[in-house]
């Protein structure tokens, strides 16, 4: 008797482990009859998960935390027992903004501090001649894209709330908006950066792995109450997804994985573009220049799939830094508890993993992150929206 499950996803490359788990039959081998449901917005995924229309979902890691804390929306306790992706986003800028940054840059163009400081000079010059502020698009208020853009530009002295416009835009609209000049830059996951470059309307300025070496991006999310009621089903789902993540990471399987993801009812984009993301080898400029990074997108490699509560704490710290919530020790603890390494370990019967330290966040600017002292960490950043201490 197969267990029917409804699992939601947004058509992005970092849904790979889930899609491969279903389409390669790994979920069926675990006795799960999974219907993958493609959604058009993160709000839909969140709401349908919250009310139980979906049993599980491909979800922005910060949304899992925001839902659990009741930030911006209904409070529903979420459990994230599997990391579907580490990194995987990129910052793409219009040709005009790229030229302006390259005119101002001092140093290596792949050094995010150099580009952020160049951006600050571009912003200041625009302001002095009374030009409209630059518009940066990201995918959701509670998204790594939002925090990565902010972290980067603030390090160079650009206040993301005062000096530029930061707006939410659904990923499918990003490339057109860049082409039409409605936005000057965006931070989004694959395949949208590559599509902008292929259409000749933008340059990939940074892989987000330039900004943080390892950042939790998407999680497999379930409701906490569902996890408690269905421990066996959840363990089966974790095992099938882990198997798919491993399969996805094997270089000899990449062509097949790209084909699976390319199907019209999955991502519906060309396999070649998906392949670039899986290989971490991307065309970054319309002139054909490519750039390679082994950390572009991690799906299960280097323990990427094992949820790390320190990652959750960093995301929570960003919510606090940018005024989405006030800091509290209790909320920090609750945020960290969303990332369920224990469920991951139990499902995969791995006892050793806990002793291997998770890869550190590796931010390009500021001090190392310490979840035991979030206040001290945030105090080291001059730009932020933290409510003043009582």
């Amino acid at each position: 008797m197969m267990t029917p499950l409804h699992i939601g996803f947004i058509p992005l490359v970092d849904a790979a482990a889930l899609i491969v788990a279903v389409d390669k039959g790994f979920t069926a081998a675990e006795g799960l009859d999974v219907a993958l449901v493609r959604e058009v917005s993160w709000s839909n995924v969140r709401d349908k998960l919250n009310i139980g229309h979906l049993d599980a979902a491909h979800l922005l890691a910060p949304v899992a935390i925001a839902s659990s804390l009741g930030l911006g929306h209904v409070k529903v306790q979420i459990a994230a027992p599997f990391n579907l992706g580490i990194n995987g986003n990129a910052i793409t800028v219009s040709k005009t903004l790229h030229a302006a940054i390259m005119d101002e840059i001092e140093g290596d163009r792949f050094d995010p501090m150099a580009t952020a400081q160049a951006l600050a000079r571009v912003v200041a010059k625009r302001a002095s001649r009374g030009a409209e502020p630059l518009t940066f698009a990201m995918t959701f208020p509670f998204s790594t894209h939002n925090y990565q853009l902010r972290f980067w530009m603030a390090a160079g002295g650009v206040d993301p709330d005062e000096d530029v416009r930061l707006v939410v835009l659904p990923p499918p609209y990003m490339v057109d908006s860049l082409a039409s000049g409605h936005v000057d830059a965006f931070c989004v996951g694959a395949p949208w950066n590559s599509i902008a470059v292929d259409r000749g309307v933008g340059h990939i300025l940074h892989f987000v792995s330039d900004i943080l070496a390892h950042a939790a991006e998407k999680v497999l999310a379930v409701r906490q109450v569902w996890a408690e009621k269905n421990p066996e089903i959840l363990a089966s789902l974790i095992r099938a997804t882990a198997r798919a993540a491993e399969y996805t990471e094997q270089p000899q399987n990449r062509a097949e994985v790209a084909r699976i993801l390319a199907q019209p009812e999955r991502l519906g984009v060309e396999a070649d573009i998906i392949r670039r993301t899986l290989d971490g080898k991307l065309k970054i400029s319309p002139d054909g220049t490519t750039r390679e990074s082994s950390r572009y997108l991690l799906v299960g490699r280097d323990q990427a799939a094992r949820p790390d509560p320190v990652q959750a704490a960093w995301l929570y710290a960003q919510m606090a830094r940018w005024g989405q919530t006030a800091i509290s020790a209790e909320a920090l603890k609750a945020a960290m508890a969303v990332f369920r390494a224990d469920l991951y370990d139990a499902a995969l019967k791995r006892r050793d993993t806990g002793t291997v330290p998770a890869a550190s966040l590796g931010p390009f600017a500021g001090p190392d992150f310490n979840p035991a002292d979030v206040n001290g960490y945030l105090a080291s950043f001059p730009i932020g929206r933290r409510p003043s201490a009582p």
């Binding site: 058009v40 917005s41 993160w42 709000s43 839909n44 709401d47 349908k48 919250n50 009310i51 229309h53 911006g72 929306h73 209904v74 409070k75 995918t139 959701f140 208020p141 707006v167 939410v168 835009l169 659904p170 499918p172 609209y173 409605h182 005024g323 989405q324 929206r385």
Partner: protein, 195 residues
């Protein structure tokens, strides 16, 4: 916010569904209704209209743009909260089933919002039913055409009258436990192949 009629914005790319909803709202006495079908600069338009209630269909990716209104921003007149609070699971269920979501500006009383949402849900459901009926009518028409062509082929090849051709189709369908439309389709396919 006017005490008589709250200002309502409908964000929907389907002009027919939006018109059905708008008409329903007007009939119920909600006169301040504006429909936005163009997603470009959506937030700027909403800020300019300054509505009390925003209704958006769930198949619209721009829904994520609306989530930005919850954020602290200089541009926002007052905080916005989604109507469906935690005590109202039934409303969330009903609206998601109908395919619509509502955003309500804080301060509008819940009892004033309920009739708007209820109306919205029933109109969305009515639209889905209409759509379904339209689809079924279309496929029934298609089937009728297929049967007519199959009858024509049988009449010509076997020298039958129209009625005899139909009886043959029907009896074959019954014997093979298939629909007449399916048998007719296979006759068309076979005759294509044998041309």
């Amino acid at each position: 916010m006017s005490a008589e009629s709250p200002k309502i914005v409908i964000v929907d790319e389907s002009p027919i569904r939006a018109a059905i909803l708008e008409e329903g709202l007007r009939e119920a006495g909600f006169t301040g209704v504006v429909h936005i079908s163009e997603m470009q600069s959506l937030l700027a338009r909403i800020y300019a209209l300054d509505p009390d209630v925003i209704l958006i269909d769930l198949e619209n990716p721009s829904r994520d743009i609306l989530e930005q209104m919850f954020q602290v921003s200089r541009a926002v007149r007052r905080p916005v909260a989604m109507f469906v609070d935690q005590s109202d699971a039934a409303s969330i269920q009903a609206s998601v089933d109908a395919g619509v979501s509502a955003y309500i500006v804080d301060g509008l009383k819940k009892e004033r919002v309920k009739p708007i949402l209820d109306l919205c849900i029933s109109r969305f459901n009515a639209f889905a039913k209409l759509q379904d009926e339209l689809d079924r009518t279309k496929s029934a028409l298609e089937e009728r055409k297929v049967i007519d062509r199959a009858k024509g082929i049988l009449m010509k090849l076997k020298g039958l009258t129209e009625e005899e051709a139909y009886v043959l189709l029907r009896s074959t369908a019954m014997r093979e436990k298939k629909k007449i439309g399916e048998i007719a389709q296979s006759i068309l396919t076979a005759s294509e192949l044998l041309k």
